[in-house]
């Protein structure tokens, strides 16, 4: 499992998700803190391409052996891609949470929501206070 890190080029959401902005689209995943808290992930229950996600609402579930956690959408939009590899190898979320363990790609519907996200410093401060 990778060491704790919070890349500078990402934005963060209070439910421990990260966001990589790419034009009018964004990639979602969960942070190192979230995957560590969940433990070894054994199953990812994810939505389909074409579904919409709403900021602050759960869009899927990640399961470890003895816990289930909702995954929350940091931003709203329509799903353009789902990381299908997680179906067979959900542990990628543990092994490489900011890379191969990405979860969704979403075409954003409300750029104004970006205001609610934190940068890496703010998120780490948020973690320290929690």
């Amino acid at each position: 499992m990778a060491a704790e890190s919070y890349p500078q080029d990402l934005k963060y959401y209070k439910e421990h998700d990260w966001v990589r902005l790419e034009g009018d689209e964004a990639v979602f995943g969960i942070t190192w803190f979230a995957q560590d808290a969940l433990g070894e992930i054994v199953y990812a229950d994810l939505p389909d391409v074409g579904d919409t996600v709403t900021a602050g609402a759960p869009y899927g579930e990640l399961e470890s052996v003895k816990a289930v956690s909702d995954v929350f959408a940091p931003l709203s939009g329509e799903i353009t891609d789902v990381n299908a590899v997680l179906e067979d190898e959900p542990q990628l979320v543990n092994e490489d949470c900011y890379g191969e363990g990405w979860i969704l790609r979403v075409r954003l519907s409300d750029q104004a929501e970006l205001e609610s996200l934190m940068d890496a410093e703010a998120y780490q401060k948020f973690l320290a206070e929690a």
């Binding site: 199953y43 229950d45 399961e63 470890s64 052996v65 003895k66 816990a67 289930v68």
Partner: protein, 516 residues
């Protein structure tokens, strides 16, 4: 010398108690309960009989047991979900081992490999019997397993109705109805046609895009064999799941539900090596296709390896369950019938690949023989069309309860009078189109306008219908003697018509005096 006044399973002597109290800093036992508010302390003594020695206890229980006249000691043709199959000695020997009997749920897998592996083997055996891909670790009974199947189907399809054939055991349907009071799809019934198999035309008419599942039983409660493949097709065409309720012993001979594309299979597993025990504990089995695995309620055992690569077994996919997912769990079930499942897998291993179908075939042949012999008797008529497995109904020239009562003194339990399920047939869902009066021999289907009238007619029509089951314990000699006894009763009934009945004089009470 005075010994202990009654059984006491606590080891401490008075000295132990005194020293333990001292160690915990309490002056008395009373003090341990000081946190219980005085207002809810029970000041009285429980009004229960005083304790006993083991000898006295066994004397009392033996008296109670002796007041029963168990079916297992008579020549019994009782069935309808619980069957008097022979339970081999090795089953009792294995299930009474303390390591199995007195263990808890295998939450510590490293110390519970015995139960875990036995459940894995049970699951495998159920999968083989049913032709399904995944079996859970067992449930309470067929009725609750059916309710769980309905909930599963509702969750999977997000649809609001489940259509259950009236050929499904009435008690299983009652449990489904009770447990569906506030949750899951709304159960409705589909009527039977002539020959007592489900009316597939009416079933098709009742289907719609709000139906989560269609449920049929094979063989059904009248012993009729259903066209499960056709029913499954209808269900799937409507986007519903198909649920098969099956008698596990029938699967030695009959097509497994996996072959006719059932999505969920449930049933009562008592017949697999468990005593009848007045109807419990047996076990409910439940198996599903691979795609429904994550919606399966109850425990599930999976194979894995330990830190050194050795083979082992664990409870798996536990996130489905209530101790993790709480209010979002697939079910509230928090146990299984592990010991009964162990009995089942020992039993199935004992019968084996060749013995299991041989047993099923023997039951079917003897049942067919009994049916033929009974139908030769004047006034006894076929009720179901087509072949049967080891259970069937006949129409008698007298109320079935009277035949049953008349034969008890002769040592026979003739079967289950279908009148005990009066009211369970004929209540057709309001949405179902009526086809009017059914053909002879069919369970009556009520009209949508007046279900009650139809129900009463159905009840009346069942008074002379008897359900008989034949296990491998019933020899030809017993069957022949039984048929002869039935013939005598029927002859007596014929003679007594219009005059005094000989039947009214012999009943269970007289019989008990005879046996005593």
């Amino acid at each position: 010398m005075t010994g202990r006044p009654a059984l006491d399973y606590t080891p401490h002597s008075e000295t132990d108690v005194r020293e333990l109290l001292e160690a915990v800093g309490a002056g008395s036992v009373e003090e341990l309960f000081a946190e219980i508010p005085a207002a809810v302390r029970f000041a009285d003594e429980l009004h229960l009989p005083a304790g006993l020695s083991e000898a006295e206890l066994m004397a009392e229980l033996t008296r109670l047991a002796a007041a029963d006249c168990p079916a297992s000691g008579l020549v019994s043709f009782l069935g309808a979900g619980v069957y008097d199959h022979y339970v081999p000695a090795i089953v009792d020997a294995i299930v009474s081992r303390g390591e199995y009997l007195t263990a808890y749920t295998p939450y510590q897998p490293e110390r519970s490999q015995g139960v875990l592996q036995s459940i894995f083997e049970y699951q495998s055996a159920i999968c083989e019997l049913t032709g399904m891909e995944v079996s859970n670790a067992s449930m309470y009974d067929a009725g609750t397993a059916l309710a769980e199947a309905s909930f599963l189907a509702g969750g999977q399809t997000r649809r609001a109705r489940v259509i259950v054939s009236e050929g499904v055991h009435p008690e299983y349907r009652q449990v489904l109805a009770t447990e569906s009071a506030g949750y899951g799809p709304r159960p409705e019934t589909a009527p039977l046609a002539a020959g007592a198999a489900t009316d597939l035309a009416l079933l098709q008419g009742a289907l719609g895009d709000d139906v989560a599942a269609v449920v049929l039983q094979q063989p059904n409660v009248f012993g009729a064999l259903e066209d499960m493949a056709a029913a499954a097709r209808l269900a799937h065409e409507a986007g519903a799941l198909f649920v098969a309720v099956v008698d596990p012993v029938s699967l030695g001979l009959l097509a497994p539900p996996g072959e006719y594309r059932a999505d969920i299979v449930v049933g009562e597993g008592q017949a697999l090596g468990n005593p009848m025990s007045y109807g419990g504990p047996g076990l409910g089995f439940m198996a599903v296709t691979a795609r429904l695995m994550r919606r399966l309620p109850g425990r599930l055992v999976g194979e894995t390896v330990d830190a050194e690569g050795r083979r082992g077994f664990v409870l798996t996919l536990q996130t489905r369950e209530q101790h993790i997912r709480r209010e979002k769990a697939t079910s509230n079930i928090c146990s299984n019938h592990a010991l009964n499942a162990l009995a089942a897998v020992v039993y199935l291993s004992w019968l084996g690949k060749e013995g299991f179908p041989a047993l099923a075939e023997l039951c079917a042949r003897r049942a067919a023989y009994l049916r033929e012999r009974l139908l030769e008797l004047p006034g006894v008529e076929a009720y179901t069309a087509g072949p049967v497995f080891r259970e069937f109904v006949v129409r008698l020239p007298l109320p079935a309860t009277r035949l049953v009562d008349a034969l008890v003194p002769r040592g026979f339990l003739a079967g289950v009078p279908m009148s005990r399920f009066a009211g369970a047939f004929g209540a057709v869902a309001a949405e179902t189109p009526s086809t009017g009066a059914p053909s002879t021999g069919a369970a009556t289907s009520a009209t949508a306008a007046d279900p009650a009238a139809g129900g009463n007619a159905a009840a009346a029509a069942l008074d002379d219908v008897l359900l008989l089951a034949v296990t491998e314990k019933r020899t030809r000699e017993q069957i022949d003697a039984f048929v002869a006894a039935v013939a005598e009763v029927l002859a007596g009934h014929g003679e007594a018509r219009g005059g005094s009945s000989v039947l009214s004089e012999s009943g269970p009470a007289a019989e008990e005096a005879d046996r005593a």
